[in-house]
């Protein structure tokens, strides 16, 4: 099997999973098993590809030509491979976790949930592997639409309202700004392909570059750059596995990945640096980091707090693009991995707390740590990684971003990153602190998932199927700290300069 076929397979498996899931709709065990198997198969396919890409292979395949110039094409390069690996790898964790969560919380319409989930993953992989802006845009929209039913899952008025905000912001930005940017790029450059070093240099009047960049930066609403971040907190009405995988990993990372991809392969980092067109974006990202962190401190709802934390952390990656040097791209890409691993753990912990204790507010967590020690230990580990302390993965991405800021002579940005870490401490660490050290208030909560949970004296953890993925990703945060060397080497292969002509 050639690499190009494996590429198609990696997208086809999650794209076809919905049919299997729908057919098995009346047999929940088989249906959920099919989801897990599909996630494993997808990850296996992606890993096979990763092996080739590390070795320098760049599989590509052109599917069809819609009309002259509009080509549906996939092409793998290191950045997309990285995103695909993260998304498909964490799908396994979430697929397992979903079983425990959805059953534990007695959610309705579970078949629809798994169907939309798999489509969303297929779309995320489509984005990761897209070979031009047009293909990317298609899957970007597929991702938006397939996640709408997930956000509206509960069908309550709040869920409908949240889903409406979600759809409205993502659609508005993508059609009003991103699509215009795509067509404009095509108009100027005569191509939409992603090429090393960008396609715009020498074709666009430098005076227009900041404007085009703005269309992209705001058009990629999934990157949740302020002031278009409101959809992310609104999407928190979704069941927690959705928040965990989609709104901490796949959807938002699709956004920042697109940002990185456009920065490196459409504009070209060198071109952005030379023209200074991204300076405003750098300051906006910095502001976004600080403001979202400040908002997060004020939120009492656990998921809302994590959502604003995500808004803030995503801007790190946008910042990496805006700094417009190689270290920025490396730091930004690395942060995709580090933040994904940390934030998915945090969200899964929040879901576990909801399933086991039915608590959603930070102020209600007092003393809960003694009942749910594993959950809160994992929460602490992941929080430390998000804050950026060694020995956790998050330390490295912040390190490289700081190096990048230093290289760009932006000392203020270094300050911003440090202040942001302090703010992270302020909004994340009180959560486990209260859970472990504050005395419990009020009466003991009854466990929803008691039947499935291992009940020991005083311990009321979430179902085992929820706990295993949480532990796995929390340990992942730790492992990433020690394996960063390989990751760094890999990220160096992201082409920064145009390929020299023979």
């Amino acid at each position: 099997m050639t690499d190009a076929n494996i590429l198609l397979l990696a997208i086809a498996i999650p794209a076809l999973t919905p049919f299997v899931v729908a057919a098995l709709g009346s047999r929940p065990n088989l249906r959920d098993g099919a989801s897990v198997i599909a996630s494993l198969a997808t990850f296996a396919a992606v890993l096979t590809l990763l092996d080739g890409v590390i070795g320098g292979a760049r599989p590509a395949i052109t599917l069809l030509e819609v009309m002259p110039g509009l080509v549906l094409r996939f092409e793998i390069e290191p950045l997309g491979m990285l995103f695909a690996t993260v998304a498909s790898g964490l799908w396994i964790a979430t697929a397992v976790y979903s079983i425990g969560y959805m059953r534990g919380a007695n959610e309705k319409n579970q078949t629809r949930f798994y169907i939309c989930f798999a489509i969303a993953i297929a779309a995320a992989l489509g984005i990761a592997f897209s070979g031009n802006l047009f293909t990317l845009f298609i899957f970007y929209e597929v991702l938006t639409i397939s996640t709408y039913p997930l956000v509206a899952h509960k069908e309550t008025p709040e869920a409908r309202k949240g889903a409406r905000i979600y759809l409205a912001i993502l659609m508005t930005t993508s059609i009003l700004f991103l699509l215009v940017a795509v067509i404009w790029t095509w108009n100027i450059a005569g191509t939409m392909d992603f090429r090393a070093g960008g396609i715009l240099e020498g074709k666009i009047d430098p005076a227009y570059v900041p404007f085009l960049l703005a269309l992209f930066a705001f058009g990629i609403g999934k990157a949740a750059l302020m002031p278009f971040h409101r959809w992310l907190p609104a999407a928190m009405v979704a069941p927690t596995p959705v928040s965990a995988l989609l709104h901490a990993v796949a959807v938002v990372k699709a956004g920042v990945f697109t940002m990185l991809k456009v920065g490196t392969y459409i504009f070209g980092v060198g071109f952005l640096g030379k023209t200074g067109a991204a300076d405003w974006l750098m300051w906006l990202a910095a502001a976004s980091i600080l403001i979202a962190s400040l908002v997060a401190v004020t939120k009492d709802d656990l998921k809302a707090r994590l959502a604003y934390s995500t808004v803030s952390q995503l801007s790190y990656i946008t910042l990496g693009v805006a700094l417009a040097n190689q270290m920025g791209v490396i730091g930004g890409s690395m942060h995709i991995v580090m933040h994904a691993m940390g934030k998915i753990t945090l969200f899964m912990c929040a879901g576990a707390i909801y399933v086991a204790a039915h608590k959603t507010k930070v102020s209600e967590l007092d003393g809960l740590g003694r009942k749910m020690p594993i959950t809160f230990i994992c929460f602490t580990l992941a929080a430390l990684s998000i804050i950026g302390l060694p020995p956790f993965g998050g330390a490295w991405s912040k390190w490289y971003l700081m190096l990048s800021a230093a290289e760009a002579d932006q000392l203020v940005i270094i300050g911003v990153l440090m202040v942001s870490s302090l703010l992270n401490v302020a909004y994340l660490l009180p959560i486990p602190a209260r859970a472990f050290f504050a005395p419990a208030r009020g009466q003991v909560a009854h466990s929803l998932g008691a039947a499935a949970a291992p009940v020991r004296e005083g311990i009321e953890e979430a179902p085992l199927l929820c706990l295993i993925p949480i532990c796995a990703t929390a340990i992942g945060c730790l492992i990433l700290f020690f394996t960063v060397g390989g990751l760094y080497e890999y990220l160096l292969s992201i082409p920064i300069l145009p390929e020299s002509l023979p």
Binding site: V66, P68, L167, I175, L179, V180, I183
Partner: protein
């Protein structure tokens, strides 16, 4: 025999439904006349297909009616532009008629059905005649044939709702005013040139030069056709006519009648008048262009606040005509391509949507949006068709709506009118609002108490899904439609091909 048919194809195109109409009236019982009309519409479609195949390469077929040579005799002139429109019109008839049986059976008494199908065939004759003829006065004659039969068709909605009579009467008045303006305009041209053949008119107007009589003729024709194609603000007849006509009539008219009027507009503006003169070009730029943009917004806004689905779609049609006129008013190759391709794309999309509305009227007994709560669960196939066609109306990628929007924005950017490009996108956001309002009501709201709704019968679902499939297929593979549209545009504007050849 075959050769005879082949040489007389242009005549057959019109004569076939014309002769069939009185026969249909004599067939008596409903189902017999339906079967006959359907068979005739399929034959007519075959004729249109073969004409399209012949002219696609750029051949122009000139047919002398009765052997009288133009410019004295009536000439039928088929080129890629009107072959394309002929295909749309006869194709829509061939799809709508099979669908019509169940819906007409429910809406019109059995003894009147043969007259209904007769009027339908006459309407088809008129629309085809307008499109195929190369004689300006003949356009008027056929326009009246189609209009008169349309008034009757709209009025036949009276068995369901008496207000159809007022709607038809309104349409009659407005349509007659339009036809009068049109014929006065032609009269003025005849005064100046002494000819009615379009090709001849073009030559003589050019030779005669600019004069105020030609200007007056231009303005009269513009307003006359503007009324027929529901150019904002001359659209007042349309919403009522579309909402109260029988469902099958609405689907057919929405997909064809305004399209044919646009064709007449294109033919007169570009072939007969040309844009050598300041006056004509300025009129389009200063009057038609702002009105088109106004239509895109005003009509979409009104559509958002409609409770009746058919009425909402009718206002959406007025907005879509805005897009079509906008492309025309750009006066560029790409703009015209957008206009022409949108004739097809919008016919397919809006035809499907109105047919879905017809399914709701028949099976759910209402076209009121609030009455369609929870209908997604009772009528899954119908509602899914609405969602997909709705995507196309919004203009999401991989649907035909996207292709149109792509060309239109491209045309605006080519001229450097990026505010117009942003306006186009902004107005499609309004489409999201009105489409999504229906989707949300149909899927996320609980069904009203005690309502039983069954899925539409296959005889209706199949035609609906044929159109839905077309709106996807020609969004994925737009080679034929974009080639036809850009060739037609080239021919109209007489400029070199910009898009197609590279």
């Amino acid at each position: 025999m075959m050769a005879l048919i082949e040489t007389n194809l242009p005549a057959l195109q019109v004569v076939l439904p014309l002769v069939a109409a009185p026969v249909c009236a004599m067939l008596g019982r409903g189902s017999r006349s339906w079967a006959f009309a359907t068979a005739v519409s399929w034959l007519t479609f075959l004729v249109a297909l073969s004409l399209f195949a012949k002219t696609f390469g750029g051949t122009i077929i000139s047919y002398e009616m009765g052997g009288w040579a133009p410019p004295i005799g009536i000439e039928y002139r088929v080129d890629v532009l009107n072959a394309f429109v002929l295909m749309i019109v006869s194709g829509m008839a061939a799809i709508v008629l099979p669908y019509a049986r169940r819906s007409v059976a429910a809406e019109i008494p059995a003894e009147r059905q043969s007259f209904f199908y007769t009027a339908f065939l006459l309407c088809l004759t008129g629309l085809l005649g307008v499109t195929i003829t190369g004689d300006a006065f003949n356009v008027f004659v056929f326009l009246e044939i189609s209009s008169l039969s349309t008034y009757a068709l709209v009025a036949s909605g009276a068995w369901r709702n008496k207000r159809a009579l007022t709607a038809a009467y309104n349409y009659l008045i407005m349509g007659t005013v339009g036809a009068t303006f049109f014929v006065i305009g032609i009269g003025m041209l005849y005064m100046v040139t002494g000819t009615l053949n379009m090709a001849d008119l073009a030559v003589r107007i050019a030779a005669h030069g600019d004069s105020s009589t030609v200007h007056m003729g231009f303005v009269f024709i513009l307003i006359g056709i503007g009324l027929k194609l529901a150019m904002f603000p001359l659209h007042l007849w349309l919403p009522n006519a579309y909402s109260f006509a029988p469902s099958a009539v609405t689907a057919f008219l929405a997909a064809t009648a305004t399209k044919v009027a646009v064709y007449v507009m294109l033919r007169f503006m570009f072939t007969v008048f040309g844009f050598d003169y300041e006056f004509q070009a300025a009129t389009l730029e200063m009057v038609v262009l702002p009105l088109a943009i106004l239509a895109m917004f005003a009509a979409s806004l009104v559509a958002i606040f409609q409770d009746d689905l058919k009425r909402m779609l009718a206002y959406s049609s007025v907005a879509q005509i805005g897009y079509i006129l906008l492309g025309l008013a750009f006066l560029t190759d790409t703009g015209l391509t957008a206009t022409i391709i949108h004739l097809f794309n919008h016919a397919v999309t809006k035809g499907a949507l109105f047919m879905v509305a017809g399914c709701y009227v028949l099976m759910a007994g209402t076209s009121s949006i609030s009455g369609l709560r929870g209908v997604g669960r009772d009528m899954p196939w119908t509602t899914a068709a609405f969602v997909v066609a709705g995507f196309s109306l919004i203009g999401l990628p991989l649907t035909v709506g996207f292709i149109s929007k792509w060309y239109l924005v491209q045309a605006a950017l080519e001229l450097g009118w990026w505010p117009v490009a942003l306006l186009i996108m902004a107005s499609s956001l309004l489409a999201i609002v009105y489409v999504w309002r229906v989707v949300e009501t149909a899927y996320l709201q609980p069904a009203p108490e005690g309502v039983t709704r069954k899925e539409a019968p296959p005889s209706m679902l199949i035609p609906v899904w044929i159109l839905v499939a077309m709106s996807i297929w020609f969004g994925i593979n737009a080679m034929t439609t974009s080639a036809a549209a850009s060739r037609a545009a080239d021919m109209l504007i007489g400029s070199s091909q910009i898009l197609w050849e590279d």
